[in-house]
């Protein structure tokens, strides 16, 4: 199972081979995501299955604070980008030092954290915790919310 890391940090449990994402000097997360997706699309298309590891408090642009929860915005971008194909449906393990309740109280729009296809982990964790989670997910994959159904009522998500 391929693990795709979306984090600006190199935590020890992620393994030495995993490289953190680059941080854009421009303060534009949409552009960061577009650049990332274009750069990695071909590589990720070649994989049949994968899991995203996402730091909810990741900083992907230089002007961001950790409390901005850019990792959550990246996850939403992944789920609603149709040209990512099946990559948009990969399971996501999202991790943070903040409690889930605090995140949802601060940003109710991040309810995607509780949706099918997303596992929330509280840091700190060990590499064994991650392995255990990944082995639980593969197989079978959980269905997840992805894509925007443009033929239906505005903003309705399809499973």
């Amino acid at each position: 199972m391929h693990i795709e890391l979306l984090d600006d940090c190199a935590f020890p449990w992620q393994g030495a081979a995993v490289t953190p994402c680059s941080v854009s000097p421009e303060d534009n997360l949409d552009r960061w995501f577009w650049t990332w997706a274009r750069e990695h699309r071909a590589r990720l298309y070649a994989l049949t299955r994968g899991i995203f590891l996402i730091n909810a408090n990741g900083r992907f642009t230089s002007g961001a604070h950790r409390q901005d929860l850019q990792g959550m915005e990246v996850l939403k971008h992944i789920r609603v980008t149709p040209w990512l194909g099946s990559i948009a449906t990969w399971h996501a393990i999202v991790y943070s030092f903040e409690p889930l309740d605090d995140i949802l109280a601060r940003k109710p729009g991040d309810l995607i954290l509780t949706s099918p296809g997303v596992t929330f982990l509280r840091l700190p964790v060990t590499d064994r915790d991650i392995s255990a989670r990944c082995s639980h997910i593969d197989p079978p994959p959980e269905p997840c919310f992805y894509g925007v159904n443009l033929d239906g009522p505005p903003g309705r998500l399809r499973v």
Binding site: D27, S62, H65, R66, F97, E98, L123, P124
Partner: protein, 201 residues
């Protein structure tokens, strides 16, 4: 290009702020507001030091806020801001909720200024309170918690200013030597313990 006036009697802080905005805006840094000429009297954004010593240097914060009522005014101080700033309810006036020290402006304040500069061109399509929420929505203690925990989990030294802030609010996470209670032999457990202290668990 966006026009910024910086009014701050502290030279190092004023210069550092001017440096960080150069290239993104036309910057007019001055020691006191009264020396700003009429040609620069209508900046888009005013970075206004609202500590007591600014008033002691000859500025009336109340008058400056009135004078720049057509501009966005981002107030800050290294100590306690004067009441004229904190009691101002105008949507175009906001007080940064953390200290901006005179010898270390801090990355958080610079990021907040940059955020305002990014949003400024889109202001017509933003809700009325966008400026205040961009400035006042920042939680310095939460940011310090997240940044310090990320640093120690990467086995890096957290920023001194972050540690100082947390030590003031969460002394039990620190040893008598002023360092966070991280034990190499039980590293993950000790990071977890610090997290529990910081998030009141």
């Amino acid at each position: 290009m966006t026009k910024i006036a910086i009014i701050d009697l502290r030279d190092s802080r004023r210069e550092r702020l001017a440096e960080s905005a150069t290239g993104r805006a036309t910057v007019h840094p001055v020691r006191v507001g009264s020396v700003l000429s009429e040609t620069t009297s209508r900046p888009d954004l005013v970075l206004l030091h609202v500590g007591r010593d600014q008033e002691a240097a000859g500025d009336s914060i109340h008058r400056l806020l009135e004078r720049f009522h057509d501009s966005l005014t981002l107030c800050y101080s290294g100590g306690f801001p004067v009441e004229a700033a904190t009691s101002n309810k105008s949507p175009s006036v906001a007080v940064f909720p953390a200290f901006v020290e005179m010898d270390d402006v801090g990355v958080d304040f610079v990021r907040t200024v940059n955020k305002v500069l990014d949003l400024f061109p889109q202001r017509a399509s933003l809700e009325d309170g966008w400026f205040r929420s961009a400035v006042k929505g920042f939680d310095a203690i939460l940011e310090a918690k997240l940044d310090v925990l990320s640093s120690i989990l990467q086995r890096e030294e957290p920023a001194a200013s972050r540690k100082r802030l947390l030590r003031k609010h969460y002394p039990s996470a620190f040893g008598t030597d002023g360092n966070l209670l991280v034990h190499n032999e039980s590293f993950i457990e000790s990071v977890g313990q610090i997290r529990r202290v910081l998030f009141h668990e």
